[in-house]
Amino acid sequence: MDEIFGIPAPLLFGQLLLGLINGAFYAMLSLGLAVIFGLLNIINFTHGAQFMMGAFASWMLLNYLGIGYWWALILSPLLVGATGVLLERTMICRLYKLDHLYGMLLTFGLSLIIEGVFRNEYGSSGMPYRIPAELSGAWDLGFMFMPVYRGWVVVFALLSCIATWLVIEKTRLGAYLRAATENAPLVQAFGVNVPRMITLTYGAGVALAALAGVLAAPIYSVNPQMGSNLIIVVFAVVVIGGMGSILGSVITGFGLGIIEGLTKVFYPEASATVIFIIMVIVLLARPAGLFGRA
């Protein structure tokens, strides 16, 4: 089986793998957006910048402090999550009583500031981040070569999505969270500290974006614009999936990544726009999104 549909198999599987990796980032980012939107009712425009901060945090840990990938996998999300908590406490918390619009404008302004500061400091050209020794190399799967790191990203992203789903659906904390999403004042009346929960939820959503950033650092070059280009696609993913369901965003994210990869093989001209076209089709057929509630 050297050719499938007239396409050389290595090319097809190579693009499928790239699609899966993009899908992994779409899934992790849209998951974070959905969790934040559920409780805070805010579309976190800073999400892309925070993804970029995650990648930069691991680059800084390595180059300034000599702390390697494995520690960065834990430390970067914690650090970036902490900045998220700070932002929520100082600014975002002032907007809950206002129109949704203002939350989006504030986080948009924040993303401009963060990206601008990083661009001043590090320029626009990317910086490389080496794949850790344990994950370098490639497996020969018979039909293609599979770089170990890329397989690791897909598996790890999938695991962190499942872990997030388990926390929200199966734990007591998650039950509080879901209850507060439905009716925050009532949950507060039962003695749960809802404002603190909101703060931590925002921090966790941001940490998830930063974790995706750490995973992305060795694949893409670490540069200040890496998040803003991604976030608009992730918005389309969120519109397609609808933000009502956790598993829905994960499936949509991976699925769209694969479709994008396949488009690169069969009709490369449309690969940049295919997700937006799918968004239009979904909006016409099912305005609430594939997994959304009307």
Binding site: L101, Y102, M104, L105, L112, I114, F235, V238
Partner: protein, 328 residues
């Protein structure tokens, strides 16, 4: 989107409106505006003023949607940029006169607004913003790939041409009077739209959409027409800008342009008549003076965004109007 929180300035006492639809205070402001338009080019560099007027018109078109219908479009760069590309292409390749080129740009932008509006209006609030942003990004990628836009180079050396085939717009001063006339005409048109019975329904939708529906209005149709009008006028602004500078580039379709027009409108005052142009003047002037600071301009814009959202939600003109207890 229920926009009651952003329209506190509109809730001030109802004033006597003349037959023009302007209140007394607005009429005074209009006279000041016309005076500035006439005297301006003798004190300031006309090309700078033309740039300012193009962005002011863009912001006014945007405000028609966000300020009066409460629809937050995050993709207006698509109409502005496409208007610019089409006008530049018509003027350069087909050799059309400037007014026809701009009309062609506006028509394409309006058509695009019709399609995108038809898709985006299916969802409300935050989703509407995300959908318009995603659709505009699609246009951006199309402009990168389509042959007629010239990719990274854009369309360069666009001739300004002769107005109606007679008046040469090459000299900056004649171009300035043309741009000023386009701006003033579109500004009065927007004002006319907002104060027509149609505009009253738009404002009703902004305040309470379900109630407007219950009164028997097809709110989606009203929103769509407002969307098309806004996109068309944004296209006029973009087309005029490309003729002024003789160039149409990817910058004008990029999402950061959508953010910039939002910032201009927010700084000036959402839903005010004169706010968007004041906001545009502030932002364009700032960019002009801070141009050598590079990426810090983005940072400063971000800071202004945050300051406006946290502290000055009424914007400059909204705050002034609030102080003087008039609607501007």
């Amino acid at each position: 989107m229920a926009g009651h929180s952003m329209t506190s300035s509109a809730a001030t006492s109802r004033e006597e409106q003349g037959s023009s639809g302007f209140t007394k205070a607005q009429f005074v402001a209009l006279c000041v505006l016309i005076a500035v338009l006439v005297v301006g080019p003798f004190f300031l560099y006309p090309v700078f003023l033309m740039k300012l007027l193009c962005f002011a018109l863009f912001a006014c078109a945007f405000n028609l949607l966000i300020g009066y219908v409460g629809l937050t479009s995050f993709g207006h760069a698509a109409y502005f940029g496409m208007g610019g590309y089409i006008a530049a292409h018509c003027a350069k390749v087909y050799g059309l006169t400037p007014e026809l080129s701009i009309i062609a740009g506006a028509a394409v932008a309006g058509f695009q607004g019709w399609i995108f509006g038809w898709v985006a209006i299916r969802r409300q609030g935050i989703y509407f913003a995300m959908i318009t942003l995603a659709l505009a990004q699609m246009i951006y990628f199309l402009c990168v790939q389509l042959p007629f836009t010239g990719g990274e180079d854009g369309i360069q050396a666009v001739p300004r041409g002769k107005l109606f085939g007679v008046i040469d717009l090459g000299p900056d001063m004649s171009m300035y009077w043309f741009v000023a006339a386009v701006f003033l005409g579109c500004f009065l048109l927007i004002h006319r739209i907002v104060h027509s019975p149609f505009g009253q329904v738009l404002k009703a939708i902004r305040e309470n959409e379900p109630r407007t529906t219950s009164l028997g209005y097809r709110t989606d149709d009203y929103k769509l027409v407002a969307f098309i009008l806004s996109a068309t006028i944004a296209g006029i602004a973009g087309g005029t800008k490309s003729l002024v500078f003789g160039i149409a580039t990817l910058t004008d379709v990029h999402w950061s342009m959508s953010g910039e027009v939002l910032l201009m409108t927010l700084v000036g005052g959402l839903g005010t008549v004169f706010g968007p142009m004041v906001g545009a003047a502030v932002i364009v002037t700032m960019q002009n003076y801070l141009a050598e600071m590079g990426a810090w301009v983005t940072v400063i814009q971000g800071v202004i965004f945050i300051a406006c959202v946290l502290a000055f939600r009424r914007g400059i003109v909204g705050e002034i109007g609030n102080l003087l207890r008039v609607r501007l």
